[in-house]
Amino acid sequence: MPTITEFINTFWVGSIYFLSAVGLTISYRVTRVLNFAHINLMTIGAYTAVLLSLSSPVHVAFAIPVVFLVGGIFMMAVHFAVYSRLMELKATPLVLMISSMGVWIFVKFFLYGLLGYLQKAWKVEMYLAKPRLIVGGEIKVEGLTLSGDLFTALALATLAAIFLYVFFSRTKTGKALRAVADNPDLAEISGISHSRVMYITWFIAGGLASLSGMMWALFAHATPELGDTLILQLFAASVIGGLYSVPLTTVGAYTIAAAENIVIATLHETIGLEVSYRPFFAFFILLVVILVRPPLGAGGGLPYRFKVLRRLMRR
């Protein structure tokens, strides 16, 4: 049977996935760019926190806004330098996706080079670091320690969810964002500045993803591969949301976290499955979602039904 730790980890990891995946979802919905550079953001967020707390530990309340800003500004810069220019050239979503891949590689190895340099120059371990953030609120219940990191992650996820809900349904900018997402042409006519909406989206998506990177660094530790190891989980969570719906992305994030903690622990005990096969669950969920509930509308899919499925449905 899975222990209480697995349940706690589900919520902890799920919140981190949520913070990151939700950014991926809203940015795709508004800009139609499948942003692979999103993966960098997590690494950037983690290392921003590491660098902030390098000389002396800092309080998490100070780190959060800084990390958010760094991530948001980075993503806005990427949009300014690459995506906005490609959009002016009327690039297809495919081309935008490829360019985001270029950004991903460039930034990833830039970070590698930079961290390697800092490691040599400052003589600190950089490729495996942990941010020294002061997080209060540790609770001990019946011999079980619930760390403040867990509560921070939960609080951040809840705050982000509330913020997104209020932002999208109550504020003028949020409504504009949704209008652009659902119908770019219509939004253009009604006088909503398309480019401003994009910058705002990238800022929010970038900020949330880099926060999730920081939280992951607290959960595990910061490595230059941090984002890359989580690709599958993030994209699977977003695909469950159809790269469109925020509530469904939330469901996806926690489902995958549950599969990776509770389900695998159970299987490990019962049939001796290796714990490192964890990512297979995310892939399995991804395939099932694509087969059974294909996200056709937003993703620009085909109105095509497989014969086998068609026969099954008829029965």
């Binding site: 499948l34 979503p93 996706m97 190895f109 080079g113 695909v239 297979f280 056709l296």
Partner: protein
């Protein structure tokens, strides 16, 4: 002073060039012609390599009546002895594994990806990328193929030749011949009704579907061929470097191939090969620099990868068509509109004239 082996450098460049040219050509069939963003090229490359390593090592060991696990040190040692005994066996195993690598990689590409062929490019890209990552994770934990250590001692098809130089020369020429054959096949494929249909699907898959094309079926065919070609490339790699492990097949390999294809020109087989030539040359050069001047302050590897990323971004921004832009598909039907075809040909000549001038300048010496 370290002497620099020019011929060795050229041979290794040509081999890697052929491997990557096959990969980028196969990617070009998928992306440039059928519009499928295959971010998991490396998976099929890896499948090809592992299939050929596994099959050839098993054949050698079982023929010798040895019963070691493939990944054991004993097996590796035995391989070294067995490899140089029977020329016929070596070559025929090589040919057999080439075919097997093609078929198995192709079939896996077709089967695994078929469900994703009707969803949009974003979802397809995510699934294939994940598949590549997963395969690597799987191989790292799969005991029969040596887990993280991989397989070592893959019998080289020309191991029976004692002179290392001749051996390498022969192998490199064989890979170049395979490349040329595949190039001719790909050229014929794209200049046929199938190539035309693929292009139509890339242009607008919904319109193609409404015009009666079974889009997932055509895409599946292309995926089969593309993955199969990647499998062949993987097979050549396995024999060339002699030992493979899961860490060779990281996602970054895929991006290398993408950079080659984008640089050369999306939707053009020649472009894919030119791009592969340029980038593998840079690649080998960085490797040589690394070898000649070890211990630089920033790893040249990182700079190399940053350049790859930059190439992708800059080409898309400033020269989206790449070095050699895409043309029409030239089927015999153009003969019906012959006078117009002549006009088109002249336009092509005009496009190519700068290249011709340069080549003339080289040949005539100015």
């Amino acid at each position: 002073m370290i002497t620099f082996d020019v011929i060795g450098f050229l041979l290794s460049w040509f081999t890697f060039f052929s491997i990557y040219a096959i990969l980028s050509m196969s990617l070009n069939l998928e992306v440039g012609y059928a519009g499928m963003a295959n971010f998991g090229k490396v998976a099929f490359y890896g499948i090809g390599a592992y299939v050929s390593a596994y099959v050839s090592m098993s054949i050698f060991l079982s023929l010798a009546g040895l019963n070691y696990p493939l990944y054991s040190l004993e097996a590796t040692m035995a391989m070294v002895k067995l490899a140089s005994q029977n020329p016929m066996l070596n070559v025929s195993v090589f040919i057999l594994t080439l075919i097997l690598a093609f078929l198995i990689a192709g079939a896996i590409g077709y089967v695994i990806m078929y469900p994703t062929l009707r969803v949009g490019p974003a979802f397809f890209g995510i699934t294939v990328l994940s598949f590549g990552e997963l395969l690597r994770i799987f191989l790292r934990h799969y005991e029969p193929t040596g887990a993280t250590y991989g397989l070592t001692g893959i019998p080289h098809p020309f191991a029976w030749i004692e002179d290392v130089f001749v051996k390498n020369l022969l192998f490199t020429s064989v890979t170049l011949i395979i490349l040329i054959l595949l190039f001719l096949y790909a050229q014929r494929l794209v200049n046929s009704p199938l190539g035309r249909t693929m292009l139509a699907i890339r242009e607008d898959e919904i319109a193609a579907l409404c015009m009666g094309k079974d889009v997932p079926k055509v895409k599946g065919k292309v995926l089969f061929i593309g993955s199969g070609m990647a499998g062949i490339a993987g097979c050549i790699l396995a024999y060339y470097i002699g030992s493979i492990n899961p860490n060779i097949f990281v996602p970054t390999v895929t991006f290398d191939v993408w950079a080659m294809m984008i640089l050369g020109g999306i939707g053009n087989n020649k472009g894919a090969i030119v791009g592969a030539g340029i980038i593998t040359l840079v690649d080998r050069a960085t490797a040589a620099i690394n070898f000649v001047f070890p211990g630089l302050i920033i790893d040249p590897n990182f700079i190399r990868w940053m350049i790859i990323g930059l190439i992708i971004i800059l080409v898309l921004l400033f020269k989206p068509a790449g070095l050699i832009p895409q043309t029409y598909t030239w089927t015999p039907a153009w003969k019906i509109v012959k006078p117009l075809e002549e006009k088109a040909k002249r336009r092509r000549e005009k496009l190519l004239s700068p290249f011709k001038k340069i080549s003339k300048w080289f040949l005539m010496g100015g």
